[in-house]
Amino acid sequence: MYKLFLTFRYLRKRRIAYFAIAAVMLCTAMVLIVMSVMGGFLDQLKTKARGLLGDVILDNRSYSGFPLYEEFIADVSAWPEVVKATPVIYAYGLLRFQGTSQTNTVQVVGLRLEDVYEVNAFRSSLYYETYYPGTTTLAEQRQPLIGFDLEQPPIPWRGEQGEVVGLGPRPVLPPPFQEALEKSWKAGLPEAEARAAEFAETLLAAGLPPIVGKYETVEALGPPELRGDPRPGLIIGRDIIARRLSDGRYERFWYTPRGCLVTLTLLPMSTTGTVDTPIKQPLRYVDDSRTGIFEIDSKHVYCDFTLLQKLLRMDAAERVDPATGDTVGQVPPRCSQIQMKIAPGVDARALTGRLAAHYHSLATDPRFAGRLDLNDIQLIRVIEAMTWEQSQAHIIAPVEKERQLVTILFGIISLVAAVLVLCILYMIVLQKTRDIGILKALGASSGGVALIFVIYGAAVGVVGSTLGSVGGYYFVRYINDIQDALTRLNPALQVWDRSVYSFDAIPNTVRTEDIVAVIAAAIAAATLGSVAAAWRAGAMEPVEAMRYE
């Protein structure tokens, strides 16, 4: 009983213990903040990186692609584990906005939009599709222009600051865009109207929800219209067509209204790896995608699978014997990748092996005898199946390693707390030497006396880590407010620049398991720090201790 009694009495009466508690508290808070922010960063990265991928991906890492994808998809669609599979083509190209000198090198992704919607979260990454559901297609289309409804009474027009700049006619979009917008108004604009208003044109009608996005207007006051020749649609990564501001919002470039013309230049490649003459394809910008990963959003554009396959000459073609020039059959169409959604509860890792094995078996499948040449077989043999995590390991793994490294580094720094506990407890033992002698004279055992200081160390750990966890939790929870306050105080103090990072806000979620781990480690470190002092206290002879000056 005396051990607990004296521990808590010393804890209350020895003010030097407060320094040990403060050290443990600060270290606990520090490690918790680092773990939470880095962990949140990693979680967000994983979530965002996931957006454009299926649960399982089949790829042969060849620019030439691989054949028999339709046959494979037909086979595996019958498997209960596979919910949906869709082919994708990856290629590289140059993107040029017509009428400007801006040219970007881009990774071109050919996809079947409706299928992809079923396989991953690509739809939710689209901007216009969110506010004009059903209007984003990759088919041929013309540019929508804002017109005016002259039959309605005029409404106040507002400037950029929301000030009324005069009365004007009500702006209207051509069908089906106006109908889609009105539908989403009725349903309540997704992600709240306020967010939509951030991107609204200056044509903000009084009392009406804004026309979301960037459109060109008709040249004269008149009804809305669709302008230009029909061109296939192209979805562009958000960071290609807009500039991310430091507050996390996007400023769209003046030359990128919805439906504007762009030119995509591609380099087709034969199955033998020969590069053919570059091909230019005019397209219309129909929507933009934001996954949240800058590497993706600043590089990727998305067009129709069949169009890209044709442009890259990956579609079915006659197979010509190079020696004779005779047609000897058909080259099967190719894709670069197959993305799949698998049924809930299925072990994706276990499934990858079966999927790859099935694809490899197609190379020798009698159904396709005579349709494949050696080159096709080679392309099939190198197909790998992987989970989306394995596929994105190049993005996730470095951050995961950084998180581990930073946590270890801060953990090592936190050993300072353990050393401080040791020093302070050693000082207390020296100060209390005579008390230790008295306790032993009263019949306290060496182990009992040592235990007082072990409990003392543990108590310092419990109090310090609890306070540190509470402090760390609230710091992380309000980390964005703290940063905003600091930025208001002095813009140079802005740590999280949203124009640099992919995410709008600093991750501010603290995981319960992190709190438990950090508290346990802090208590263990503080208890360990007390051992040397406890050993000395326990080993003291009562007579020597009482004579101590």
């Binding site: 004279a441 009263l442 019949g443 306290a444 002879e541 009562p542 009482m546």
Partner: protein
């Protein structure tokens, strides 16, 4: 012949300070019967306190033995060097000494040795807390508190329960120390120069208390250098040249 309550047989104690060796006890013998009040006198530095510590199982002699109710307090001399290491905590003799200090012995020191963070009542209760588990304390607490209040009232400090040692006079502190030494009803009370730090009045009061306790059957071993204090004991022994001798009659 019945064994005495406490006996010392050929106790040797030498202090080693660097290269110097100071042989303090050179074969002390003592027999203490239950209910006796023995005073040990000697010059300053003669080894009185050392002998008291050895008798009270606070210190370990290099040779000789102390017997409590006929049972040895220390390991046999040849094993003692081994048990003088940290392994001492594992020995049954160490456990036995701890048990003696908890239950059979009480100590009063010249410099009181109270714990400054605790008040008067807590200092006294500490003796009862030692050796009691947390669970056991909840059942024993009430009785321990009553014993502590009884003994504190007896030493005249019943009104000063919540005072800290720093708020008491020297005489009061020594009475608290006395209460702490008596609260568990020890069989032997060891008093090391109990009046050495007190003025004449406080010293006389304390001696009156010791005599009253002795009259009630308390066995007391007191160390003092003051002949007038020693004379109040039943028997006075003188420690000279490391050996105990009966003091000459005065």
């Amino acid at each position: 012949m019945n064994s005495p309550l406490l006996a010392a047989e050929g106790v040797h104690k030498t202090y080693v300070m660097g290269r110097a060796r100071l042989q303090v006890l050179r074969g002390c013998d003592l027999r203490l019967e239950a209910g006796e009040f023995v005073a040990i006198m000697g010059k300053s530095g003669s080894g009185k306190s050392t002998l008291l510590h050895v008798l009270g199982a606070l210190d370990v002699p290099q040779d000789g033995q102390v017997l409590f109710r006929g049972r040895p307090v220390f390991a046999p001399p040849r094993q003692r060097a081994f048990y003088a290491t940290a392994l001492d905590v594992l020995s049954r003799y160490e456990r036995q000494r701890i048990a003696l200090r908890r239950r059979a012995f009480g100590f009063v020191f010249q410099f009181y040795h109270l714990l400054p963070e605790l008040d008067v009542l807590e200092n006294v209760l500490l003796t009862r807390m030692v050796g009691t588990s947390v669970g056991g304390w909840f059942t024993a607490r009430r009785a321990a508190r009553q014993d502590a209040l009884r003994i504190l009232n007896r030493v005249g400090l019943g009104e000063r329960l919540r005072h800290r040692p720093a708020e008491l006079s020297g005489g009061e502190r020594q009475r608290v120390a006395m209460a702490r030494a008596l609260v568990h009803r020890p069989e032997v009370l060891f008093a090391d120069e109990p009046t050495g730090n007190l003025d004449a009045t406080a010293g006389a009061e304390l001696m009156r208390l010791l005599k009253d306790l002795h009259a009630e059957g308390q066995t007391i071993v007191m160390v003092t250098h003051d002949p007038s204090i020693a004379d109040q004991a039943d028997r006075v022994l003188r420690l000279e040249d490391g050996r105990l001798r009966a003091a000459a009659a005065r």
